[in-house]
């Protein structure tokens, strides 16, 4: 199956096109090598444990082209944004300077589109780009490396606290059947702090394929809050790898909200390399359409002592939709005094919706405190009746109860502007 994809002529063709664009020779060589590796590895198949519920073979039969910047900016596309932000806007994968707004950026911070960073700071960017990502596990990362041409490079120097959130806004506009492969690199140096929101939206774009990789390096004592909002078009495919690398005492909070795409896959991989690193992961997935499929895979690698991780994800599924949730905590021999918690709750609004949930632990040390649990349930019939008996229409009552189901997770967002933003998006676009 995957052999077909690897030799797909459209893929070869667009690879040749991307290769003809000017780039440093080392990058050209790296991309060629990654492309070769991807072809050898092939797309994941449903025979692979990590992909057994998530079929991606249709990608091989689709002729994706390369994205072209659109001159049809949707009206009001920035209107609903947060106030006081540092904003980077992408148009079909291409950076748009005119729509971006960096005036609040502290001067000591490097924040630029990847292509520009490659020109201005080649020595800085190169080592991060040349990192060997685990493409055997996640072949889409090979594919991303092979096609990468744009994305974000953000470097926050020591002791720098960025007071405003940074918004990476990926807009897909008025084009169909394209593949974009953004690569985002975020480096937070010692004792720095930043809040980031990565958002993907669509305006009259359909059937496209986003394959994004976000790398987050958090050095000692740094704190990164990373939010992601995925509201791609309902015919699109969104595959994301988010890799977090944490040093001593660092703290990362992630919050992923997925309600777009026909098929979305989020792989969140946390590496706790040094002691007392902390990572709290929260997420929501809201599926409202027939044949919509959202898959969250989390892997937390506890490699040092005294690290803490927690996972709290909630999902709401309606119609004939399907969700997958899989989180795994792996504690090495060295990872003494590990605290790990994994929770996943699901609410099914329809009898044809389906969820496969599995929190897992693999532990090679004693002296760990690990908790995990998962539930799948339906709306509380008594509560529904109570609301209806007070005159609230059934549909509205169901919405109220569905919203009630996730509200505690949203309430946990510390930053109130961010909380309101996410709440608004959830109400408006997921109808809750």
């Amino acid at each position: 199956m995957s052999a077909v994809f690897s030799t797909s002529s459209w893929l070869e063709n667009i690879f040749d096109i991307t290769s003809s664009v000017f780039q440093p020779p080392w990058l050209q060589a790296f991309r060629t090598q990654q492309f070769k590796k991807f072809r050898e590895r092939g797309l994941p198949t449903m025979q692979e444990e990590r992909w057994k519920y998530t079929p991606v073979s249709y990608l091989e039969r689709t002729n994706f082209s390369l994205p072209i910047i659109s001159n049809k900016w949707p009206k009001n596309c920035l209107e609903e944004n947060l106030n006081s932000i540092i904003l980077l806007v992408f148009n079909n994968g291409h950076f748009s300077e005119e729509m971006s707004d960096l005036h609040l950026l502290p001067p000591e911070v490097i924040l630029s589109p990847l292509s520009a960073a490659l020109q201005a700071h080649e020595h800085l960017v190169k080592p991060y780009l040349l990192q060997q990502l685990d493409g055997q596990r996640h072949p889409f990362m090979y594919l991303n490396s092979a096609f990468l041409n744009e994305g974000i490079f953000l470097q926050i120097p020591k002791n720098c606290v960025i007071p405003y959130p940074i918004h990476f806004l990926f807009l897909n506009i008025n084009q169909s059947y394209f593949m974009a492969s953004p690569r985002n690199i975020i480096v937070a140096h010692e004792n720095s702090q930043v809040k980031i929101i990565e958002e993907h939206r669509a305006y009259q774009a359909e059937n496209y394929f986003i394959n994004v990789v976000t790398e987050l390096y958090t050095n000692s004592n740094a704190r990164v809050d990373y939010y992601k909002l995925q509201r791609e078009h309902l015919t699109s495919t969104h595959i994301a790898n988010i890799n977090v690398h944490q040093k001593q005492n660092s703290c990362v909070n992630t919050f992923l909200v997925d309600f777009g795409s026909r098929l979305a896959r989020e792989d969140l991989t946390i590496n706790l390399y040094e002691r007392r690193a902390t990572c709290h992961m929260k997420g929501l997935y809201l599926l409202r359409h027939d044949d919509q499929h959202i898959d969250n895979h989390i892997y937390v690698d506890h490699a040092a002592e005294n690290c803490t991780s927690s996972v709290l994800y909630k999902g709401i599924l309606d119609k004939k939709s399907q969700a997958v949730f899989n989180s795994k905590v792996y504690a090495h021999v060295e990872a003494k005094k590990t605290h790990a918690q994994q929770t996943n709750h699901n609410l099914l609004l329809s009898s044809s919706a389906e969820v496969n949930t599995k929190p897992e632990l693999e532990i090679y040390t004693d002296d760990v405190t690990c908790l995990h649990g998962a539930t799948v349930g339906q709306v509380n019939a008594e509560a529904l009746f109570y609301l209806r008996a007070r005159g609230i229409e059934k549909e509205a009552a169901l919405k109220l109860l569905a919203h009630a189901f996730i509200t505690d997770v949203i309430e946990k967002i510390e930053d109130s502007a961010m909380k309101n933003y996410i709440q608004r998006q959830v109400s408006h676009y997921a109808g809750l």
Partner: protein
């Protein structure tokens, strides 16, 4: 106002065995009247109230129920509420995550929409609810809490009455609203109910105790046993029951 004719209802348990709960209820409540329904535990009082409110868990096998000329069995629970029926539940359910104020506003405006009234805006709603809360001597803090979550038994009952005052029903059914209330709360509940009382509204009070009926004086008292109304009388029947219990009625069939 409310006419119930020969109502039979049953429930199916986990083993799909049918259990008969209501065995031919007849009840006629006229506009402006207050009726009390008394009777031992398990006689079917709550079942009757829930069926009227639209609980579909029960199967109505025979009979009918009309509210103001509308066949209740044709209506969804929300339409019954809009048509003016209100049930103060015996056990109000806790709904974590649903804000009490948001809920009340949604309920009031949904019912207003059905009744072809414009929705209350945030300010008008707030003024109204604060007034009603004052009447019920409820702390405004309850508004920011989740519906009934962590409320004491008495607070839940007061919250039911608050909802009733906000929704202004034509027919209010109070299912053991008095149980678990201290005497002050009981008086407040009674005051709330009486404030709603007029010649166009009817009230059905399900209770075990004469106590509440001292404040909400009934026009008719019914005794329900084993799914049937076996005796009806004036307000003095409640006193008689309080004195003698239900045992003496056992053989009246």
């Amino acid at each position: 106002m409310l006419i119930i004719k020969n109502l039979h209802a049953s429930i199916r348990d986990e083993k799909q065995k049918t259990k008969k709960i209501l065995c031919g209820i007849d009840l006629h409540v006229k506009s402006g009247e207050v009726h009390a329904i008394m009777g031992p535990n398990g006689s079917g009082k709550s079942t009757l109230a829930n069926i009227l409110a639209g609980q579909k868990e029960y199967e109505v096998t025979q009979g009918e129920a009309w509210l103001d000329g509308k066949n209740l069995m044709d209506l969804e629970p929300e339409s019954r509420a809009a048509a003016g029926l209100f049930l103060a539940f015996q056990y109000p359910v806790e709904i974590p995550g649903v804000n009490n104020m948001y809920f009340l506003k949604a309920a009031v405006n949904s019912v207003r929409k059905h009744r072809q009234l414009p929705p209350l805006d945030a300010m008008d709603f707030l003024t109204l609810i604060k007034n009603k809360m004052k009447e019920m001597e409820m702390d405004e803090k309850f508004l920011s809490r989740a519906v009934n979550e962590g409320f004491s038994g008495g607070e839940k009952k007061c919250n039911e009455i608050l909802q009733m005052l906000m929704l202004e029903p034509k027919l209010a059914i109070l299912d053991e609203t008095d149980s678990g209330l201290d005497i002050d709360a009981l008086q407040r509940v009674a005051k709330g109910v009486n404030s709603l009382r007029d010649f166009k509204r009817s009230i059905v009070v399900v209770t075990h105790y004469q106590r509440l009926l001292n404040y909400i004086v009934p026009d008719v008292v019914h005794v329900m046993m084993k799914g049937k109304i076996i005796k009806s009388g004036g307000k003095e029947l409640a006193l008689e029951l309080e004195e003698k219990g239900y045992g003496w009625l056992g053989s009246t069939e």
